[in-house]
Symmetry: C2
Subunit: 321 residues, 2 copies
DNA sequence: ATGAAAGCGCTAACAC
DNA sequence: GTGTTAGCGCTTTCAT
């Protein structure tokens, strides 16, 4: 009787002692079968080997461990079929709930998922009825744009990801809004397209270098990997950063610390996202009905890839975060 | 009756149809309770947010998913207590087996772990009775040393990790053996100590630069993070790599691609380790008794941190892997 | 070839 | 307060 009711302390102790001496261990399985709760939670992300998602996983993991819950982690590889298969697996082992970063924007299956879910990432916006945790892309973009402006970069070239992704839409909308607010025409901006890989960033920078973009060039990439790829392209072209081209990334992956110069970037609170999502999920499991939709702020990590064109001493860059 | 025995095909089909129309789903929990098999596997590694271990996890994850098994991943943070707690959690949820990278060399608890286990990493050597998968440190070190020699670096400075770790012992022994085989005195080698972090690599390189090491300096680090930290220190000292100092890392993390120059390194087959370990575990679960002890070879990833002192054109470095 | 029954280890509800 | 009982959904065994 390891619950909690009205038992005499003496009996309790006796039972506990007996249990200890006998090496008794409660069978979690039977307990789960009876109670309908397994104490297991699921996490479905694109790729556990991707530094950003690994951080998110770590945040969720730590939070789960705090309350003795176990976490099942699955990588969907941005593949809808694989995601569905993982979701099926989660339901099969009867996890109590799950955190998922949906591959596509339409998540019909998720709606009828039949268990508590909290969404992470941009797609959350599509499902107002589900609790979610994401980073504030709009605020991050605004932060980056203002920082660039303070350094004298007024019209950076943008390097965005795939059109399909909601993150792309959000990023573009934030850019649009910023320039409209500035009284400038957003349709005259130069926007390059990549696919979030370093290779695509590299290719994009090569295109930019041969194009007639006004110098000095400044690139604002939608993620760090593309920014890093672009940095490599600058170097391979025999140019130098930040003298010839300035680069600002987005994500805040640790790798940015080791490039030369260190990658200036807008960091998303990766671990915080995992942590908060887990908190929300656990709240939901304990019966709270608050459909929170948390949006965490991004912050600036100034390193060395941005040249200061403003001439003012006050806005000098910190060398390496 | 979704097992397999001697049932009339007609009945089977009838039942299957009924199940489908009724939307019946077998309860995995009850099945597990009855059969004693949960179809869940565990993985305990130091840190899922560490790129190397994330790769290992990914390898294991993919293999597990292939056979419909779910993987519980835990991060021990090189903390014995946390490891024990995670092991307890794994037993609690009745995983069928686990892959673990033990924090310490003595794994008394593991021996009596009471479930199929396969070890990964250096500590495996301590437990000949357990199946294991690791990378061939000795071969990797030999490979690195021979490559360095072919470039004209005959006595590199070594940067090793903590003394306690078995990986340290293995690395040092490999170095020792190499120089003894060369007829040189291994005791005259310069060996610096770090703790596998970039910061410790940075500090070590600073010490080396002020010391009276014979120039040109060549560093062989026991992991990539320390190598990368050292590279940063070289740059901060106003020196350049590989002209003033050559650096060779060990691990093969993707981050090494983005440093400038790209980090030359000895790569461990991270994903392969996870994959093979999972294969071994599953073999064990299906009743095979072979106590395999797999050792995977490392390979050279030449990038730009090594200067060619040999003067021969044949051994020119590939620019960036 | 099929149906009935027992029981995996636990918890919730009820009677003592 | 404490002991008893009935299942959670499945699989295995035994009788039909």
């Amino acid at each position: 009787m390891s619950g909690a009711k009205n038992i005499s302390p003496a009996t309790l102790e006796a039972v506990l002692n007996a249990a200890k001496t006998l090496g008794y261990e409660r069978n979690h399985l039977a307990q789960s079968l009876r109670s309908g709760r397994t104490g297991m939670l699921g996490l479905v992300i694109p790729d556990i080997a991707n530094p950003f998602w690994a951080e998110v996983a770590r945040g969720a993991q730590d939070k789960a461990a705090q309350s003795g819950a176990s976490l099942l982690i699955f990588s969907s590889d941005w593949n809808l079929e694989r995601e569905a298969s993982h979701l099926r697996a989660l339901r099969q082992v009867r996890v109590d709930g799950a955190i998922v970063n949906p591959v596509e924007n339409r998540i019909d299956d998720l709606a009828r998922f039949g268990m508590p879910v909290v969404l992470i990432g941009s797609s959350a916006e599509q499902h107002p009825e589900l609790p979610s945790v994401g980073s504030d892309i709009a605020q991050g973009v605004e932060l980056g744009l203002n920082h660039l402006k303070s350094l004298g970069h007024h019209r950076p070239v943008f390097l965005l990801g795939q059109f399909g992704r909601l993150a792309h839409v959000k990023f573009q909308r934030a850019i649009h809004d910023h320039f409209v607010a500035q009284g400038e025409d957003p349709d005259t901006l130069v926007i390059e397209q990549g696919d979030y890989t370093a290779e695509s960033g590299n290719a994009a920078m090569q295109r930019i270098l041969v194009s007639s973009s006004p110098r000095p060039i400044c690139l604002f990439a939608a993620n760090d990997l593309m920014a890093l790829g672009a940095l490599l392209a600058v170097r391979d072209a025999g140019l130098s950063c930040p003298e010839d081209v300035s680069i600002l990334g987005f994500d805040g992956i640790p790798t940015g610390l080791f490039s030369d110069p260190g990658l200036s970037t807008i960091a998303k609170p990766a671990r915080g996202i995992g942590d908060r999502a887990m908190t929300l999920l656990q709240a939901q499991l304990s019966g709270e009905t608050s459909h929170d939709r948390i949006v965490l702020p991004c912050h600036l990590v100034p390193r060395g890839t941005l040249q200061d064109l403003s001439g003012s001493e006050t806005s000098k860059l910190t060398a390496r975060g």
